[in-house]
């Protein structure tokens, strides 16, 4: 599904992924920095283009490419409806600095809570991805105890230990205020 408007912050811009982003979005998922902590994708460029075509048509599936203010693609981030009314943040890959990464997710959550009016947003993280867990806690994420991924909640990672993370709309204003003070001080 396409978000027609760009989500723009001081450091980054989020734009709905297009076919032109196929090479970047495929390459970043094969970057060793991320392959340990994201489900593997093994497909050709043409397959990635087709995936993007379908993603753009799929209701409730928002996939953004993150751009820096110099016009470079620096990451991806997504929000998907996994069941009716249940959304999950995912596909977070960032090559930028901490300010860009933090603002990208802030923009995503502002989109989810303020534009889509979601009550909560979930996500799954590999239990050994300490950096991602810390990052999600910064946004008020409520982290579960680790458990094995036997229900395939995270694709292509059967049996691996995961944690569930939940973000509540009611907590977001305070988190948003705290983060924006630091980002824009």
């Amino acid at each position: 599904m396409i978000c027609e408007e760009m989500l723009e912050g001081r450091y980054v811009v989020l734009k709905s992924c297009t076919i032109d982003d196929a090479e970047f979005t495929l390459a970043i998922r094969q970057n060793p920095k991320f392959t340990s902590f994201l489900p593997k994708i093994e497909q050709t460029l043409e397959q990635q283009k087709e995936w993007i075509r379908q993603q753009r048509e799929k209701a409730g599936d928002y996939f953004f490419v993150v751009w820096d203010k110099k016009g470079n693609r620096i990451g991806t981030v997504g929000l998907c409806e996994i069941a009716k009314g249940q959304y999950e943040s995912n596909r977070l890959t960032m090559l930028g600095d901490s300010f860009e990464a933090t603002e990208a997710v802030l923009l995503l959550f502002q989109f989810g809570f303020k534009i889509l009016n979601l009550d909560h947003i979930g996500s799954f993280i590999f239990a050994d991805n300490k950096r991602a867990i810390r990052f999600n806690k910064m946004f008020g994420g409520i982290i579960s105890e680790p458990y094995p991924n036997t229900n395939n909640e995270v694709k292509n990672s059967y049996g691996r230990m995961i944690v569930r993370c939940k973000f509540l709309r009611e907590n977001f204003p305070l988190i948003e205020k705290k983060i924006t003070i630091s980002l824009y001080s």
Partner: protein, 72 residues
């Protein structure tokens, strides 16, 4: 803020790390120097020292010494 006070605050409050740190410690060697660490440091700088820390200064910092100097 003295150097020791700074290191204590960094270890206990900002980074929440078990690692032994000194002013010479490279930020790249500190696992907890991530987005949360950056945001917490900025908040600490403001609360403890009344200092507004700019993004460029944070991005260019390489060691804890560099961060300490931002608070002076």
């Amino acid at each position: 803020m003295t150097a020791q006070e700074f290191l204590t605050k960094m270890k206990e409050d900002v980074l929440d790390t078990e690692m032994d740190i000194t002013l010479d410690t490279s930020l790249g060697d500190i696992e907890e120097w991530d987005s949360l660490g950056v945001v917490t440091f900025i908040a600490m700088a403001k609360a403890a020292c009344g200092k507004k820390v700019e993004r460029a200064a944070i991005v260019n910092a390489k060691t804890l010494q560099d961060l300490y100097e931002l608070l002076q």
